[in-house]
Subunit: 205 residues, 2 copies
DNA sequence: GTCTATAGGTGGATAGAC
DNA sequence: GTCTATCCACCTATAGAC
């Protein structure tokens, strides 16, 4: 079954590439880039390793594509947030909810996972990885800056620095929570990140 | 050269086991548990893989020993802090300095690294890993609680929860900073963690 | 585009000489 | 305790039939 020449892929069905990425992503987010193999993906998709190599010639290319897609989907989610509300606190709550949904699927953030393995990653993956963090920090910094200017948020120092702290705090909370298999550890930390930024600091816990 | 029977190891020279652990630790903190091999360690020590297996029969045992020693050394550092000052803020600064020294050696926290790979770790390593985080949180929670009671620190909610947030924030800051090879990213985030807990919140940054 | 088959390499681990 | 030699499982990747 070859795709018709020159035709856009039919929207109704998921392409083979997408299904490979789906499975590989799940593996990478739970076991890390060095913790899964073509054989693992092939087994779950009921196909052969050779078939996977047809779509992604090298594991480096597969890894790069994983980050690229993860980044793209994440950016779309951020745009959706921007289109849904103008309130900074609400934007941050929805941002945190993105990370929380990852945890609820018993996964680690793909890029947080790859960051741990950074020293062993091929160069194309490294570059793609930084782009993801850059985009996160840029979006966060803008939300924080706007929120502070509007009097909705309170924090000291440059918004860019605070954005980096927030990102790190969320990634780290996921990282440790996974060792306990307890999403509540993440949620508790995430809540504190939010309340530390909020103007009215009153909620009991 | 066999150690004399029943004699304590001579304090002056470093045992073979220690030197193996030193090299393996450096590998593990930079490349992850799944990112280094017996061959890597053997090459740096100018010995054979078989020799390493004599001291650490399996990689699982090597990994467990790595965490155990890391934990022990860390606990000693915490005791040293407790013996040096009673001021909570100073204790926290010294605690952060422990993490900072790891970053300055271009490493990730051993246990933060292993937490990422948690799903692929043998059971003995998993158990040992949680002990490290438990000890960190316990020490931090005590410092935070005491500091708040003494009016040296200011934060809301249970000290235990705040301790988890602090730990997560530091681990996450290291994680992301490594992708940029920039220790200042960690230091900036660490400073914010400290100022967020301090009573007088004035320093410009 | 998917398959079988296999190359070529590296992983952890062991046996047995010294 | 360290070595040589080796086993076997698994890895990424490719060739070529269908």
């Amino acid at each position: 079954m070859t795709a018709k020449k020159g035709a856009r892929p039919p929207a109704a069905q998921v392409s083979v590439k997408q299904r490979i990425l789906d499975v590989a992503e799940q593996c990478a987010q739970t076991r890390g880039f060095n913790g899964f193999s073509y054989a693992d993906v092939a087994e779950k998709l009921l196909c052969t390793k050779a078939s996977l190599h047809y779509h992604f010639p090298s594991k480096a290319e597969l890894g790069r594509a994983l980050i690229e897609r993860y980044h793209r989907v994440f950016e779309q989610a951020l745009e959706a947030i921007d289109g849904r509300t103008n309130e900074a606190g609400e934007k941050l709550r929805r941002y945190v909810a993105l990370y929380d949904s990852v945890m609820r699927n018993d996964r680690m953030c793909l890029c947080g996972m790859f960051a741990a393995e950074y020293a062993t990653l091929p160069a194309p993956m490294r570059d793609e990885l930084r782009l993801f963090f850059d985009a996160n920090e840029k979006w966060l910094a803008a939300v924080l800056e706007d929120g502070r200017r509007a009097g909705e948020l309170a924090f000291r120092g440059p918004a860019k620095q605070r954005a980096r702290s927030v990102l790190g705090a969320l990634e780290g909370a996921m990282l440790v929570a996974r060792a306990y298999g307890d999403g509540r550890r993440f949620q508790s930390a995430a809540k504190q990140v939010l309340t530390d930024l909020s103007v009215e600091r009153a909620q009991p816990s």
